[in-house]
Amino acid sequence: MRRITEEEFSKKYDLYKPMLYNIAYSYLKNTSDADDIVQDTFMKYLSTDKNFDTLDSEKYFLIRVCINISINLLKSKWKKDVVKDDSITDVIYTSHDSSNIDYFSLICSLPLKYKSVMVLYYWEDFSVEEVAKALNISTSSVKKRLERGRNMIKDKIESMEDSYEN
């Protein structure tokens, strides 16, 4: 087990848990799975001796572990569950008032590659550089993915409205 006291661990838990929970929630969209993933992420953290040169690298490690566990759980659920995953097209809107659009679901329904950058950038207020470091990709990849993610969401909103109006 990692050599850390309970109090030190508790500090890290308080510090990172909200962010990890939000990330996990964006993948699994329910509290119990998200809670389980958070737990598994911290267990993995406690069970490895991996050393972190800085606090940031520790944070990014946790994020990556959390995303990996989320994706794995998602994949195993897709195999077992008969229910289709709710994509953007399943959401029904009854009004063209933009305030009723569920932006949360829109982010959650993005392809996994775009979702992780969107979640870190918009929900956790990471800068582009920080997202790049956390996910181990280049800053230009981050910018491209953010742009594509935004465009996908924009397209969805615009096409929904168009189909409604039609």
Binding site: K17, K50, W123
Partner: protein, 740 residues
Amino acid sequence: MRISDNDLEKKLRESKEEIKESKKDNAYEIYENAKGIDSKKVNIFSSIRFYKIASALMIIVCIVLVIVFSSANAKLKSKPRNVIYYEGSSGNSASSLALDNSISLTSLDSLKEMVSSTSFDRQVISGYVLAADESILSKGDTGSIGDSSWASTSVPGSSTSTYKTNTQVDNVDEADIVKVHGDTIFYIPTQNNYRFYYYSSDKEYTPTYVYVLKTSGKSVDIAKKIEYNYTCEFALGNEEASIYNYTYSVPMDLYCSDKYLIVRVNTYTYDELKENGTSTRRYNYHVYAEIQIYDIEDYSLVTSIKTAGENISTRLIDSDLYVVNNYYVYDDDYIPSIIIDGVTYKTNLSCIYYCPRLGASYTYYTAIYKITLDDDITVKDYYFLTPSINNIYVTEKAIYLIKSYGSQTFDLGDNKKENCTTSLVLPISIENEIYAQSIVTVKGSISDKYWIDEYNGYLRIASTGSRNTFKVLKGEDGQEYNYGYQSSVFNYLTIFKLDDKGEWVEYSSIKEGLGEKGEQIKSARFNKEICTIVTFRQTDPLYYIDLTDHANPIITSELKVSGFTVYQHPYKDNYVIGIGYESDANGRTLGYKIALFDISNKDDIKQVGDSITFLYNRNSDNYLYYSINAINNPKEIMIDLDRDMFGFEIKDYRRVYKNSNYTYQYEYKYYVFKIDLSKDNPLSIELAKGLTCDSDSYYSSTSNSRMVFIGDYYYLVSKEEVVSYTYNNGFSQEKTKKLN
């Protein structure tokens, strides 16, 4: 509808509000669960550069090995005059029991086959294992038990006029960072034993020391500082990229015997690749637990013994030092080797024992070294094929290896299954021959070594765990779906007795009544025929269990108080000192608590007087927490019950939000508590001494200050200084001696 970019940005950020709140806030639970996990031994840094350099290194290493190997054959294997290594520890007077239970393998091939065939096979069927090689199993069950005198006195450490380590069993000494021998104090002031991991090359590395402090009343003199430093060797490379090999030696803990000072040293080696101003490390996983033996009079190094594997624990019984390690077979190292004063000795195959009664999983050896510390130092080694061990409990008669597995699934029949934690206890007799007894299995986890106790031939074990029962449905696709999960928590007290075949069998148990629904055991303490157990989820029942008749253990009374005790210490046989946490009605911890319980009437146990508390302030910006390391490491508690006192260090840390920045402040204090039964509130604080602490302490959890006593003089040792006191109804005449 078109949406502007600005609006979209705003909406995306606001969408975070839609996240439903988490239902769990369970850092403590996660931490507790993680305790049983073995940490990964290898940190492999993966990158293409690494493999390039690594292959270059491999070539160098191969060349070096060829040179060393050819010279080793010519080397004189003469051992130092007074260190004798017995190659092959079986032989002498082998009892039939020893031979039947611990079988030496006859060939390297059969060993290899066994080790590689089943790894982590957890199906233990009634304590026996389906061996890969049937012919070995046939030699298992004959023989009668030689001596049944398994009784040992397992009495908690009390005190005399000279400080002794707070050990679990009398006469079985445990290693510690401070020891007293006559008028000499030996102390290792490592603020953080693992700090070298965070060491970066721009900081000055400071060596660590073992201090030899001679006392004379209040005066303290530094007789010697035994230094432990690091070496850095350039391995290969050029201006662009180069590899350095670092070796650090860090003293971890020590013992004093009549003739010797024994220091356990951890040696860490890693290769550092320095390239373009960045550096990355690859840690070497070849571990040795080094035992350095110094003369106790002149502190000169007598010998250094590097035992194979990663150390779990050690014990000193009279002049026998037992070193228990986990040895993992890396890279075909089926035969371990030990290094005595720089000379490597490959162990004999006959020292590796397969014990059919010890259960599955052969990827580990539990290595037990018996080092006898007479004028001649003798070394004997034994390797048992076992699962990896978390902890040990040692009496004068046996070493009990403890393994808490994590979860196992049991088939309950009728399409129902149950998944719960299980633990194994593997007793190794050390009285005459060293040999394995039979496995003991309990459901639940054994969280620390105080939960297991042997008394008069009975082995008593407290365990706690959770079980998930669920139903299994086979789908049309042949896949299995689990559903209908029901989970519950259980707490057991199980008592085992040796039968005449030399096996431990379950004799009696308490499986109901310990803890209310959802509660888990937080601490257990055995004191001869009394057992006190604390369970907790929201309140703390303290249970008194009467063990005068081991066939019928009975819970005779329970006491509900808030919070829960983590460490219990018997006081005058009629009382228990409880050190643990305070909590609110929902079970959330509020801080620490020290209380005194009166257990003189087994049908009506009660708390005596008020408890002493150290409560947190959880204000979100400026919070205050306390941290008491001693409750997880009882050796840190100074037990001085002749004077009705006990003491340990308490750290408090605050986070202060100032100038849009969080700053952390730490303070360490050493507290001594006194018990005065003549008062209504017997517990009081006798001393609260602030200690100088290291400002660079994000990763340090304790300052490891300790207090010891010799007669009427008390010495508080810490990294910076030794503070001495005279005690006469109070601590007085404080005197400080700097240690640098």
